[in-house]
């Protein structure tokens, strides 16, 4: 019998303590971020999709079309092509396509690049209804940025 009353009292007490906690939080400020109105700042190491890094002097991509990123990619979402041009040492990149639909953002392409030609972008809100919008032409993107 004493166990019955003990449980009754401790149980009722626990219920009121619970109400006290949620009641206290009711008056505390909200912690959520109001997304479209407040935009989060991406961390410096945030891994978005990759983009080409321009050469500081010429503004042209640093890529020399060695193909290491293409080889390192687990899902084969990178397609690189280049050509030999006169007056330029090595190859010049003419096509750098990232198929973002199969990219898993693992970052192995960036690691494998010996020339520091690609980096992660800070884009995160990519939305579209069409699959084709996620096949990025990174050379075009670089031109638009500069």
């Amino acid at each position: 019998m004493s166990g019955y009353f003990k449980e009754l009292i401790s149980g009722t007490k626990s219920l009121f303590i619970g109400l006290g906690i949620t009641g206290k939080y009711f008056f505390e400020p909200v912690v959520t971020e109001q997304y479209p109105h407040e935009v989060p700042v991406m961390k410096p190491r945030f891994r978005g999709h990759i983009e080409l890094i321009p050469d500081e002097e010429t503004g042209e991509p640093k890529c020399v079309v060695c193909g290491m990123c293409q080889k390192a990619c687990p899902t084969g979402c990178i397609t690189v092509a280049g050509e030999k041009r006169e007056g330029v040492k090595g190859k010049v990149v003419t096509q750098y396509i990232l198929n973002f639909t199969t990219c898993s953002l693992c970052g192995q392409c960036v690691e494998s690049c010996k020339f520091g030609a690609i980096r992660f972008s800070k884009d995160y809100n990519k939305v579209s209804e069409r699959k084709e919008d996620f096949i990025y032409d990174l050379i075009k993107r670089l031109k638009e940025q500069s």
Partner: protein
């Protein structure tokens, strides 16, 4: 009235299809329940709705290319899976890992374990009908995700470990941030305790509900909090030590009761133990490189059979590699803890009421992509 309800007039039982789209199964798990009224006669889990052939994918690509797959299996404790695979390959190829890298691995894995347990805590109470603790737990979990994002670059499906070390070094802000977070979570734990653990309704829902005996846990190969809640003192971190775990002082919470409350308490206590490990690791963190000096560019392990197990958030995760000396695995077998933990659901749920069985299912902490792989 026709169709479903009028199957056979003489039949006392009926079949209830729980899932693959059901709020309590947290994913695409389907459970075929044979019910007698609201009592469960038979509960057969049906798998395969999110099978992606990860094991096969491991066999037709190079070792490094499988790395991002690890994070896609157990998406709540991705770093433990990273750790298991990376450690197995390192064991096979004989790669030495610098000490600082091992410390970083332990710190991030334990933070990941806390975030996984926090999410489980919220989702479990949500299964029991309490909404608010979920949001409080997410508030805390968000701090961990921010910390891990500042190191690994992603928030959920991490791919941070590499053969021979980790992807990149931490910054000082991570250390101070982690210490602050631990202080904050220590302050919040009494609140969770008062709001949820001591709540009479929750105690009534969990105490003596869904007992899993020591014997049953052994027979089905249950590991992790499920086994420890049944009184089996087994934790890979302590009993088959790997990485730098032997250098830390931490306890393995074990409860003898075997009911849902015991599994709940194991996970709540584990969060505190993980915080202790992180604190000690931050204190002892040695200087040095985070990557082996010269990791082989193309990994070709010796011919042979290798196994490495780690303690993931849900139990023991094992990787078995069979190498034929090429740059690809001949066979890659992944032993995921939740698959074994789910197997005992049929036997444990027999004769239980539907809501109690769902409480039991929540206490197993299922992550469906990990079961199906």
């Amino acid at each position: 009235m026709n169709g479903l309800l009028q199957q056979d007039v003489n039949q006392e039982t009926f079949t209830l299809n729980l899932g693959p789209q059901h709020p309590a199964t947290h994913g695409v798990l389907r459970v075929k329940l044979v019910m007698d009224g609201e009592y469960i006669v038979e509960a057969e889990p049906v798998l395969g709705y999110i099978h992606r052939m990860h094991e096969k994918m491991g066999e037709n690509r190079t070792w490094a290319k499988f790395l991002p797959n690890c994070g896609r299996m157990d998406y709540l404790g991705a770093l433990s899976y990273n750790h298991g695979y990376v450690a197995a390959v390192e064991r096979a190829a004989g790669i030495e890992v610098p000490e600082r890298a091992e410390y970083l691995r332990v710190i991030t894995v334990e933070l990941n374990r806390i975030s996984s347990h926090l999410l489980w805590f919220g989702a479990f109470v949500l299964d029991l009908g309490g909404f608010t603790p979920l949001l409080y737990a997410f508030d805390d979990r968000e701090q961990i995700l921010d910390l891990l994002e500042s190191v690994t670059g992603s928030r959920l499906t991490y791919c941070y470990f590499r053969f021979g070390g980790v992807y990149n070094d931490i910054e000082d802000s991570f250390i101070t941030g982690t210490r602050e977070f631990i202080k904050r979570l220590r302050k919040r734990m009494p609140m969770y305790d008062a709001l949820v653990t001591k709540n009479i309704i929750l105690i009534k829902r969990l105490k003596d509900i869904g007992p899993i005996s020591k014997d049953m846990a052994r027979r089905y190969g249950a590991t992790g909090p499920v086994a420890r809640g049944s009184g089996i003192n087994f934790d890979v971190r302590k009993h088959e030590p790997y990485s730098v775990y032997p250098e830390f002082d931490f306890d393995i919470p074990v409860y003898e009761e075997g009911d849902s409350m015991a599994r709940y308490m194991v996970r709540m206590d584990e969060m505190e133990q993980s915080m202790r490990i992180v604190e000690q690791a931050l204190d002892k963190l040695p200087e040095g490189p985070v990557m082996a000096a010269k990791p082989p560019r193309i990994i070709k392990p010796e011919k042979g059979d290798y196994y490495h197990a780690v303690e993931a958030a849900r139990g023991s995760f094992g990787v078995r590699l069979v190498s034929d000396g090429t740059n690809q695995a001949y066979r890659l077998k992944l032993r995921s803890p939740t698959f074994s933990n789910l197997s005992l659901f049929n036997e444990a749920a027999r004769g239980m009421l539907l809501p109690d069985a769902l409480a039991l299912m929540g206490s197993l902490d299922l992550v469906i992509p990990e079961i199906d792989r």
